[in-house]
């Protein structure tokens, strides 16, 4: 025992030493700049570390429906992009993890293949697909679903479509990973006890892959909120999102004070939304049985846990 604890404390020291460069890197290039941005958002002129001219003037200037509509538009984009990714990605992950047998590895490879190309190249590739004379319109015309080509490029449609496909792997992979951890005998037990495939999906597979859904949802939601490239390229830059607004402040008007304030404000909104979604997920994953398990069972379950804790 003593030998073991000695070893583990040594190992802990060692772990810390290994983690140190990464931690320093994070502090230097993430937390320090973040603190600067927060500080700059409260001042009017460059006066580093004087703390005299603290003011809320920047935030007052942002108190304008235009800025709020931009933040709300971004939240909307982030949330629905994550939701669409979930609806499209869940069946993909389900198929890969539980149904695909022979071609599983090849399909997984195809799924992560886009990561091998530059993100910008991917975005540009969509020009050729969504263009007025592009591939999608040609196909739709050929099939006869539409009679005149659709204007997709430079509209929110283009942004949503491309966002969906660029972020899909971030949703599929965590869900896939959580599903592969489900014991296949549990799924067999469910059908054995009389469940149809849909019932097994709802009562067993879905609750047991909830952690993957949550991870995927945040992996898509958070970067989607600040997405800059796709709205700028495929939205034609006409529709402003948080990312484009921040770049406008910093690069076009060079107003770092207003830009910082806007960054902090939108960041706060994102944290608030993420927290709300997190709470929803926590409510969903409560081990309270299924189909609204009997009332007393939940109560007694809790009291049983309490008594367990008191021991």
């Amino acid at each position: 025992m003593r030998n073991n604890s000695f070893k583990s404390s040594r190992a802990q020291e060692y772990d810390f030493a290994v983690a140190l460069p990464a931690v320093l890197w994070q502090i230097l290039f993430l937390y320090v700049p973040l603190c600067f941005i927060i500080y700059i958002s409260f001042i009017k002129a460059i006066d580093f570390f004087i703390f005299k001219n603290i003011t809320l003037a920047n935030y007052k200037a942002l108190f304008n429906p235009i800025y709020f509509s931009i933040i709300i538009r971004s939240i909307f984009l982030a949330f629905f992009n994550a939701l669409f990714c979930l609806f499209l990605g869940y069946p993909v992950a389900y198929f890969l993890a539980l149904r695909a047998k022979r071609f599983k590895n090849m399909l997984l490879f195809l799924l992560i293949l886009p990561f091998w190309t530059n993100f910008l190249v991917q975005a540009y590739a969509w020009f050729f697909i969504l263009d007025y004379h592009g591939f999608l319109n040609k196909v739709l015309l050929k099939i006869g679903i539409i009679s005149t080509p659709l204007h997709i490029l430079n509209t929110p449609w283009a942004i949503y479509i491309v966002m969906l496909f660029c972020y899909l792997p971030f949703m599929v992979l965590p869900i896939y990973s959580s599903m592969t951890k489900i014991n296949k005998y549990i799924l067999e037990a469910s059908s054995d006890l009389g469940a149809t495939n849909w019932q097994t999906l709802g009562y067993v597979t879905l609750p047991l892959s909830l952690s993957g859904i949550r991870t995927g949802f945040f992996l898509v939601l958070i970067p989607s909120f600040g997405e800059f490239v796709i709205p700028a390229l495929l939205g034609g830059g006409k529709i402003m999102y948080v990312g484009s607004m921040i770049s406008y402040f910093f690069l076009e008007t060079k107003n770092v004070f207003l830009g910082s304030a806007f960054t902090v404000l939108s960041g706060a909104c994102l944290i608030a939304i993420a927290l709300l979604i997190y709470l929803v997920f926590r409510k969903l994953s409560k081990p309270s049985g299924f189909t609204g398990a009997t009332g007393p069972s939940i109560k007694t379950n809790n009291s049983a846990k309490l008594s367990q804790g008191n021991k």
Binding site: Y185, E188, A189, S191, L193, N301
Partner: protein
């Protein structure tokens, strides 16, 4: 309660034939054990009955109804899995109530039934516990309760006690027998452990490495009258001798090269048991009397030299080297109130047995 009939079942996995032309009838309401070594296809057979696997050809009947292609969830068959396969996100109540909730049974009836079935497996105190708060034995009982609550026609058990320690396993075996007597459901119990199979089964089937059924019978029939050398070796331990059968009007003998002639009882109506045939003789170690003295009243006697002695407490196992170099195993009960003669290493001993206590087998 209905019997299960398997007809000409064939199952191939990745080009390898697991089961070929298998026929088996499992009688209704019995505790039936499927015993075989690892890789004999016994679990595959169970999974075919449950519906987790589809047979490549052949038919499965439950009573008069063919269930060969019936979906898993429509079969009145439930399974207890080797690793329990409990739902980790449900508590004991929700695990056990699962099948009833799927059927939309009324809440108060569900509660009543869950409590009843948990009482049968002595878990009523744990009804609202989380699954991961339970021990292995308790989880096994939850799995059992979950499988029987829906009153299936057949309960399939796939090595259900493999993960438990010996003491707990013996206790659970007795409880399983009691449960089967109460429920009167057909139990099909898959195991590679001959002790478990002999303990629980009303009737058992022995499968060999080729996925064939060697013999079906009661544990006593299987043990006392194995029909093949495989069964004799797999169920219990035995000494096998090869010899030439010599049938004479009065008595019959087995001539074993290097050992001599031994009187045997020739099985009737067996085509392979003719005069001059090469056959096998199976001799259970506990049917042999070992002594340093010359004894009267036995039909056969062999002499040898003690090679090693293994003391088991309740019994002692002697390994005795015969004249032809072969080692045979002998079990002796240790009865303290009948002082036994002391047998030691390298001593010359005689082994006696009655001709009725050995079995002749086809080579």
């Amino acid at each position: 309660m209905r019997e299960i009939k398997l007809k000409n079942i064939k199952k191939i996995f990745n080009g390898e034939v697991i089961l070929d032309n298998l026929n088996l009838t499992i009688p209704s309401g019995e505790f039936f054990a499927l015993l075989g070594p690892s890789g004999s296809g016994k679990t595959t057979l169970l999974r075919l009955i449950a519906g987790f696997e589809k047979a490549d050809s052949g038919h499965i009947y439950l009573g008069d109804k063919e269930i060969t292609n019936l979906p898993i969830n429509e079969r009145r068959v439930n399974t207890v899995f080797q690793n329990y396969a409990l739902f980790p996100h449900f508590n004991v109540f929700d695990n056990v109530a699962y099948s009833l909730k799927l059927k939309k049974v009324k809440k108060d009836i569900i509660e009543q039934k869950v409590i009843n079935v948990l009482k049968k497996v002595h878990l009523e105190k744990y009804i609202y516990k989380d699954i991961n708060q339970l021990s292995g034995g308790q989880q096994q009982r939850v799995a059992l309760a979950r499988a029987v609550i829906n009153e299936p026609d057949v309960l399939l058990l796939d090595e259900p006690l493999a993960a438990l320690d010996l003491k707990l396993r013996e206790k659970m075996l007795v409880e399983l027998i009691d449960l089967q007597e109460v429920l009167k459901t057909t139990f099909v119990y898959v195991t590679h452990d001959q002790f478990e199979a002999l303990t629980v089964a009303d009737r058992m089937a022995i499968m060999n490495y080729d996925g064939e059924i060697e013999q079906v019978g009661t544990p006593k029939e299987i043990y006392e009258f194995p029909r093949s050398a495989f069964v004799a070796r797999f169920v219990g331990s035995t000494n096998i001798f090869k010899g030439i059968l010599r049938i004479e009007p009065e008595k019959s003998y087995l001539d074993i090269k290097g050992l001599g002639s031994f009187e045997v009882v020739v099985p009737k109506d067996k085509a392979w048991a003719f005069d001059g045939a090469i056959v096998l003789m199976s001799m259970r170690p506990e049917k042999i009397e070992i002594s340093k003295k010359k004894l009267e009243g036995f039909s056969n006697c062999l002499e040898g030299e003690v090679d090693s002695i293994v003391y088991h407490g309740r019994s002692t196992q002697y390994h005795v080297e015969l004249k032809n170099g072969k080692i045979i195993h002998v079990f002796e009960q240790n009865e303290e109130h009948f002082p036994q003669e002391v047998i030691d290493y390298d001593e010359k001993v005689y082994m006696y047995w009655q001709k009725e206590n050995v079995v002749l087998l086809e080579k």
